[in-house]
Each structure stands twice: as structure tokens, then as C-alpha cells.
């Protein structure tokens, strides 16, 4: 369960002034939830996910995590570009206390990087990077997965595989998926919320959330 209560976040702007990204946002993510969060570019979706993950701190309010939560799975973060996919896998295995072989085998099978597994991650295409990221996070068993757009870049085959694995992995677990593409939410999520101008509105029904988002 993740519980967040009256969370606010602002950034200091250069030359003075503040940009308020989140104002008094509250909510609960329970085991088994598959929550999609819709919002336009710059609405604060990624900021919210980083705070749920506990890597960024709110200016006020509190966030409590009582389950294992993945790192925010977003493009270009959490991995080291100068290191190969395999070395990144070893690093993730070490810091998340997993058997190195298990993580390596899983990633090789899931991400299908072939010989690129031993190439520096900076040579990867966006799709390959997304596959590596998801593969690494699935190799570590988290109770809750925080996904920030990375599912959006794969090709047909990958999207199908990711969808199957997510459905299997997130049974009885939680998923928070952030996107500005309504179709992805419909694929992965059972409930949804819309983030707009600093406030988060929850909807039981994904279609309702999509309709609200489109009317913004």
C-alpha cells in the first residue's frame, strides 16, 4: 500500500518565482490496483511518480510506502549509459539483493537484446532501452511497479509481451502507469486519475477519465 496525504510540490524558477506542480494531492494505492494517471506534458506526472518512489521529496505533506516499490521506470534514468546492458543488470541485481544469474537470464530472455547485451547502453535505441528497463524491473519482484511512459516505445511484439507479463506480474500487486496516451491506459489499467493544474482527480472507470482528459 502507498498512502499519500496532502502532498504539495513546487520548483523554484530561475530569476525568482515558483512553479506549483502539485497542490494538496492525496490518494491510496492498494495491492491489486492498476492505476493509470493521465496528464498533459509538464502536468507533473513524472514528479508524482518520483515522489511515490521516494526518490524526490515533497515540499509538504507525507507519503508512506508499506510495500516494495520499483524505481520510476522512465526513459534514460536508473541505468548508466557507459555500461553495457549486462553490467547494468549486475548492478541492479546487487543493489536489489537478487541473484545475478537470475537477473541476467531473465533480462536476456525478456529484452531480446542479443549481442547488444554486451554493448554500452548509450548505443541502444529507445525501444531497446525500454525493453532493458522493463526486463530489469521485472527480474526484481516488486509489489508495485511505477511506469512512466516506457511501455509506449516498444514495437508490436514487445507491447504484447509487456502487456502479458504486466498482467501476470501485477496480479495481486500494484501498477501505477503514467501516460499522455489514453490507449495505453485502456490496455493496462483498471482505474484512472487525471492530473491537471496541480490537482489529481480519481475515476473508477478508465473511459470516464479519458473523456475528462480529452475535454481539458
Amino acid at each position: 500500500m502507498i498512502y499519500f496525504d496532502r502532498v504539495s510540490k513546487h520548483y523554484e524558477l530561475r530569476g525568482g518565482g515558483k512553479k506549483h506542480v502539485l497542490r494538496n494531492v492525496s490518494g491510496i494505492i492498494r495491492p491489486g490496483d492498476a492505476l493509470g494517471i493521465l496528464g498533459r506534458n509538464g502536468a507533473g506526472k513524472s514528479t508524482l511518480v518520483r515522489m511515490l518512489a521516494g526518490v524526490e521529496h515533497p515540499n509538504s505533506g507525507r507519503i508512506e510506502r508499506r510495500m516494495t516499490v520499483s524505481w520510476p521506470l522512465a526513459h534514460g534514468v536508473g541505468l548508466q549509459n557507459s555500461m553495457s546492458g549486462a553490467d547494468n543488470a549486475r548492478f541492479i541485481a546487487r543493489i536489489y539483493n537478487q541473484p545475478i544469474k537470475k537477473v541476467l537470464d531473465f533480462v536476456e530472455d525478456f529484452a531480446e537484446l542479443g549481442p547488444y547485451m554486451d554493448m554500452p547502453a548509450k548505443t541502444y535505441s529507445v525501444g531497446m532501452m525500454g525493453r532493458l528497463l522493463l526486463g530489469l524491473s521485472f527480474a526484481v519482484d516488486f509489489d508495485c511497479y511505477l511506469i512512466d511512459e516506457v511501455t509506449a516505445t516498444g514495437d508490436q511484439r514487445f507491447v504484447a509481451r509487456a502487456q502479458a507479463l504486466l498482467a501476470e506480474k501485477t496480479r495481486g500487486r500494484s501498477l501505477v502507469l503514467v501516460s499522455h496516451v489514453p490507449e495505453h491506459l485502456k490496455m493496462y489499467c483498471r482505474s484512472a486519475a487525471v492530473l491537471n493544474e496541480g490537482s489529481l482527480t480519481f475515476f473508477e472507470d478508465v473511459d470516464e477519465a479519458v473523456a475528462t482528459y480529452k475535454a481539458l
Binding site: E64, P72, Q80
Partner: protein, 269 residues
């Protein structure tokens, strides 16, 4: 708090678990640091101490040809290596600290990786490298010339003090550089300017008394004197004040940790 919300674990359990996690993270960071700095080639790990060994030996060899009065009766080569090798490690820690957070921002996406772990891993690596260099040089010279360090425990203690001091300063520099860009610019010239005041190049005994007393305000100069005392013993009279250095070590480490903590919330992803 909503109903059915699991209770937090006890403080003690969390502390023990936290220490285990920190150990794992630092281990992973150490291996990663080795890889990114020296590559995966077979000679990669060797470069870690070959580089400072080469540098310190070169200076040592040059000094043994143009040996001067400042070195007393001790072998100029050893004198230089014992001074320069730790000094290089110290300088590397301070200079590299300016980019430490910026270069590792992506790691901050993993909750268990703390800024302080990143710094500790780097510093431990530098420490391991210079320790290897000293062991190789000392073992080599004692084998060839039969020269043995006068008092090994004093040397080890001095090295530990030097690294603890560098660690605290490194934390301060890293936090400062993350907050103000200008820190990055001034740290490098400062480390060059500070070289003559570090006490690494010459024994303070051969300086006029007033200069010596001025230099001894610098804890680093005390540590280098202590190192030479452990190495050469009575051959060169040494001047140092261990409690004074310890006080500095505690001060810069506490300030450094506080600064890193304060800057954490200000870092932009």
C-alpha cells in the same frame, strides 16, 4: 491513516536493515566505479594503482637526481613517494568531488542509493589505490635496500586520518558544487595553490620556525609530518598534533554529512 494500513517496523529493525542495504549499495558502487573508470579490460583494475605508482615513482626518480637539503639523510625516492602518493589521492578526492552528484544523478532513481554512498565508494577506491602503491613501493625498497618503515602503525593511522579528512572535505565540496556552480571553478585552482601548504613536498623541520608554525595550522601538513615520522622515525624530526587533526576530521565530516543531507532535496532530476 487509512484502516488496514500495515504498521511500520521498529526503529531497531530498520537500522539493521538499513546498514545491510548500505553495505550492498557501496559494494555495487565500488565495482561499478572500477568498471566505468578503468574499463572491463584485463589491465583495467591494474590501472587503478599503476597510474599513481607511475606518477609518484617518476617524481621520486627525478628527486633522487636533484636531491636537496630539505630531505635530510633519507632516500629521496622514498621521501617523494611517501609524500606524493597520499597527496595525489587527497587531491583526486577533492577535485573529483565537484562532479560526483551530477555524474551520478541517474543512480538517485534507486531509493536505496544515497549520495553519501556514492562518495564513500569513490573515496574507498582512491584509498585502496594509494594503499596498494605504498605497499608495493615499501615492499620493493625493503627487498632491494633493506630499508624498513620505522613505525608502521603510525603510518597506517596517519593514512586513515588523511582519508577521513579528505572524505569530509569531499562531501563539503560535492554538496557545495551541487548548489553553486562557482565551487566547481574555484576548487581546482585552490588545490593547485594549496600544494606548497600541504606539507607533502618537504619536511617542516627544515623551515624557519615561524613558517613551520604557520603551516601546522593546516591539518593536512600535520598528517604528512606524521606519515614521515612513521616512515623515517628519528632521521627527520617531525611536528604534528594528533588531537588537532582529529578535531578537524570530526568537524569536516559532520559538516559534510549535514551539507549533503541539506542539498539532497534541492537536487533537480
Amino acid at each position: 491513516m487509512p484502516d488496514g494500513f500495515p504498521a511500520a517496523r521498529s526503529q531497531f529493525d530498520r537500522t539493521i536493515e538499513g546498514l545491510k542495504v548500505q553495505g550492498r549499495v557501496i559494494h555495487a558502487l565500488l565495482l561499478r566505479e572500477l568498471q566505468t573508470r578503468f574499463g572491463r579490460g584485463h589491465l583495467g583494475f591494474l590501472w587503478l594503482f599503476l597510474e599513481p605508482l607511475l606518477l609518484a615513482s617518476m617524481i621520486g626518480v627525478i628527486k633522487s637526481f636533484v636531491s636537496s637539503r630539505e630531505m635530510g639523510n633519507v632516500p629521496p625516492f622514498l621521501f617523494s613517494v611517501v609524500g606524493y602518493a597520499p597527496y595525489f589521492a587527497f587531491r583526486a578526492i577533492i577535485n573529483r568531488a565537484t562532479t560526483a552528484f551530477q555524474a551520478n544523478m541517474t543512480l538517485m532513481y534507486h531509493r536505496q542509493v544515497r549520495l553519501i554512498d556514492i562518495m564513500l565508494a569513490r573515496h574507498l577506491l582512491e584509498m585502496a589505490a594509494v594503499t596498494c602503491v605504498l605497499i608495493i613501493v615499501l615492499a620493493g625498497t625493503s627487498w632491494i635496500t633493506g630499508f624498513m618503515p620505522h613505525d608502521l602503525p603510525t603510518m597506517v593511522f596517519a593514512l586513515l586520518l588523511l582519508f577521513a579528512f579528505a572524505n569530509g572535505l569531499g562531501l563539503l565540496v560535492a554538496a557545495g558544487a551541487a548548489r553553486w556552480e562557482v565551487v566547481d571553478r574555484i576548487v581546482h585552482p585552490l588545490t593547485y595553490i594549496s600544494l606548497p601548504f600541504s606539507g607533502a613536498l618537504f619536511a617542516l623541520h627544515y623551515l624557519p620556525r615561524s613558517w613551520r608554525e604557520m603551516l601546522l595550522w593546516n591539518p593536512q601538513a600535520n598528517v604528512h609530518e606524521m606519515l614521515r615520522d612513521g616512515m623515517f622515525g628519528d632521521q627527520i624530526p617531525a611536528y604534528y598534533d594528533v588531537p588537532y587533526v582529529l578535531a578537524w576530521v570530526v568537524l569536516v565530516n559532520l559538516l559534510g554529512m549535514a551539507a549533503v543531507r541539506a542539498v539532497r532535496t534541492k537536487l533537480e532530476f
